[in-house]
Point group: C2
DNA sequence: CTTGTCTATGCAACGAGTTGCATAGCAGGA
DNA sequence: TCCTGCTATGCAACTCGTTGCATAGACAAG
């Protein structure tokens, strides 16, 4: 159900097409929620028939036409209702952790390359987030009162940054452990 | 597909019934993968017909009989194959972050209770993890060479601990931000 | 003028995950 | 005796999410 709400938030921040939403889900919104374009198009259609969104055909020059979606009153009300309803704390889904525990029944050292690949991916994401923070939240004005939306977007981004830093440190820990097991020798 | 592999790992660590697996998925394995008992029973059935698992009926005293599952050779091979196949780095799914950004279009202060509830839940989980670490990885022997399985389980648990600590710190940041916005007044 | 790339939308099929319900053995207490 | 609660297993229906495929306009490079 939360994809609906992520779409409402994103469209309230700025109306846009399904394609644009799909790209946002690879960037800012995608920091904490993912979705493919197929999923987005399907949900957009349902939300329009449910009256939560409004479509408008937009002709463009130099590229195909698009459908721009924006949030209706009922859409805004649906978001508000969700905001006031408690949700359960997150449950993790970490494939790599399953692999690490599974490595006990195979060769732990064989995981080293994989873990290093993940570590690099998280370093890249961290760099991307930090660049975005510099661009969007540090440059323009002094530590003056920004508007609420900006403050809230910033604190969410800080969460993404903290997550990546924590993950990189943990993967270093994992790598050190795997190297130690490798040095101890297989079957030791 | 990863639920299959999580089950294989858990059953290699110790054979057990569907019910026992469901409880493990609320504990150790559940630190990084979740599943309901319905999902587990369904997958267990499929894995038996696929020859990855073996069932054995076990009569019990004082409680209903159970079916104990254990991993076959092909099951072990399937796990090894997965371990050697690269996977994509994780994508986050964090409802609360969606709510926080959505709060810009509602009353940010109204989220404070919810965030505090989540913060408490994460503090509880952290305490639970730390107790488990003390019980399973600190008590018995000196910093001696443990076996690989223990080392790997420990490093995964350390990841869970780091995640909870990071999350609690971030939620403190979120709370400070929400209080600041509240003090600035609505519409400021 | 064909090929490739980016924008833009969508269907169909499948697999993963959730929710509600149902059954049943066994134990302890009201 | 009945009710509650824990252990133990499972079906049915539904929604969510992924994968593969298909279409099409516009532009740039070869």
């Amino acid at each position: 159900m939360a994809l609906d709400h992520a779409i409402l938030v994103s469209l309230l921040e700025r109306p846009g097409s399904g394609y644009e939403l799909a790209r946002r889900f690879e960037r800012s919104i995608g920091y904490f929620w993912t979705a493919t374009h197929q999923q987005i198009y399907r949900v957009l259609g349902r939300m329009v028939t449910d009256g939560l969104l409004l479509v408008r055909e937009v002709e463009q020059q130099g590229r195909p036409d698009k459908k721009e979606y924006s949030v209706t009153g009922p859409g805004r009300a649906a978001l508000a209702a969700w905001l006031h309803k408690p949700i359960e704390p997150e449950s993790l889904r970490h494939d790599l952790a399953v692999k690490i525990r599974g490595a006990a029944f195979d060769d732990p050292a064989a995981l080293i390359d994989e873990v290093e690949r993940h570590r690099q991916a998280h370093r890249d994401r961290l760099a991307h987030y930090l660049a975005g923070e510099l661009r969007d939240f540090t440059a323009p004005d002094a530590p003056a009162p920004q508007d609420a939306g900006q403050e809230l977007q910033h604190v969410v981004l800080r969460g993404g940054i903290a997550y990546e830093r924590m993950t990189i440190a943990w993967l270093d820990d994992v790598l050190a452990t795997l190297h130690r097991l490798e040095a101890a020798g297989p079957g030791a």
